[in-house]
Amino acid sequence: MEQKLRQEAKALLEQNKVDWIIGFEPGSLKFTATPLITRDKNDTERLIINPFIVNNLADFLTGIKGRVGIVAKGCDSRSIISLIQDNKIVREDVVILAVPCPGLIDLVKIERLAGKDRDELDDISRDGDKVTVTVDGQKKEFAINQTLFDHCLACELPTPQEYDILLGEPGPPAPELEVSGQNIAKLKEALPAERWEFWQNEFSRCIRCYACRNACPACFCQRCFVEETEPQWVMPVPRWQDNLIFQIIRNIHVAGRCTDCGECERVCPVNIPLRSLAREMYGIVDELFSFKSGMDKEALPLMAHYEQEEAEDLFK
């Protein structure tokens, strides 16, 4: 798959079909991949595909000028389509190099299972439904569903539907919705006041680095409401109240654009369970309006469309 990707990417640049290639290259730490954004055909030799290509590369599309060949997993492809729906990018300017994705390995889960930090592990390898972690020369085996990101367990589109070049064979979806939704289900059992207090505590450690927003392909506003000063919607001060409002509004603003790619939660340096917000909003949108973002490039965006009869039970 990697060889084919390198050839195709190189060809795209050589034949001047794209100006840029966005993909992954090996990261500087163990078990990491890092985005590679290049116009140099020689760089394509470094392109890789492995279970650690975690970033949603669609995030870079709105900040780049020119035609782009982009490596896309299922979730990335949904974000790309969502951007097309919103007229942020033009389909013709993107060459989608589709990667059938069997799920990405969540190093936080691995660390918990192995009882060691990621840099203390010798090896992580996947073989079908098993993941083998080698620590101090000893092998430990785990079921794949224990080790994948929550959002991968809920993946509805492992292989992009919309693509120009398909790399490898499409895999079947491997949804483990129950596991994936555990955190949300548990929260819902709590009383409203307890839930609010839960979020209050979680957001009291937010440092307002805006990594969640900046890593989110759906957050493409040139100017975010948090940066408005007249009026000052929220204070640019990491107080839990303002932090929480920021995140509530962010989720509402990306409703119908969020594809549950899980990046917000992955990038958070202070471990706020942001996917438990994003996924719930994803569910609300689906439940109320049968809308799933990034599935159909011809569909109108959620907020640009309506039905005569919907959600009426919420209105007096």
Binding site: L187, K188, A190, L191, P192, A193, E194, R195, W196, E197, F198, W199, Q200, N201, S204, R205, F225, W233, W240, Q241, I245, I248, I249, N251, I252, H253, A255, L277, E280, M281, I284, V285, L288, F289, L302, M303, Y306, Q308, E309, E310, A311, E312, L314, F315, K316
Partner: protein, 152 residues
């Protein structure tokens, strides 16, 4: 909630100028009784009400927010209230999930001729707010020891 008997909820209404605001006027001129708890802001259309306005109202200490617009199909701008409906629906559901009592965000369709309905809606919403009590969502409460005195 010991002082509930004296406490009166503060309700902020975002009322569409074409219908609900006129409906509120009519309720007044035709002497329909409704609680004085509502403070009304005239908006050009219910779709003007971004979720930011709703959250900001709660942040500023209003106990509840009422968004009211024209009945579906009757929007002065043809489709504004349909769009408002989607936005308010997700906001309402999402806030509920976060732990905000559903009573705090209410929405209704009230036409210019429905002075009676406006009075009913405000009465009902105010009653609901009295049941859930004062809005303390954003007030400084005990937090687990993450930010202690010596820590800051």
């Amino acid at each position: 909630m010991a002082q509930q008997s004296e406490w009166e909820p503060k309700l902020l209404g975002f009322l569409c100028r074409w219908c609900s605001y006129a409906g509120a006027d009519l309720a007044g001129t035709s002497r329909k009784k409704y609680p004085a708890n509502i403070r009304a802001i005239k908006v050009p259309c219910s779709s003007r009400v971004d979720s930011l306005l709703i959250i900001k109202a709660l942040r500023l200490g209003f106990d509840g927010v009422l968004v009211s617009g024209c009945h579906p199909g009757d929007c002065h701008y043809l489709t504004g209230n349909y769009r408002a409906r989607r936005r308010i629906a997700i906001t309402k559901k999402f806030l509920e999930y976060l732990g905000v009592e559903p009573e705090r965000l209410q929405a209704s369709w009230v036409s210019a001729s429905e002075g009676g309905k406006f009075a009913e809606v405000v009465t009902e919403v105010t009653k609901g707010l009295k049941e859930v009590g004062p809005n303390q969502l954003f007030s400084e409460r005990k937090l687990d020891g993450t930010k202690t005195k010596a820590g800051s």
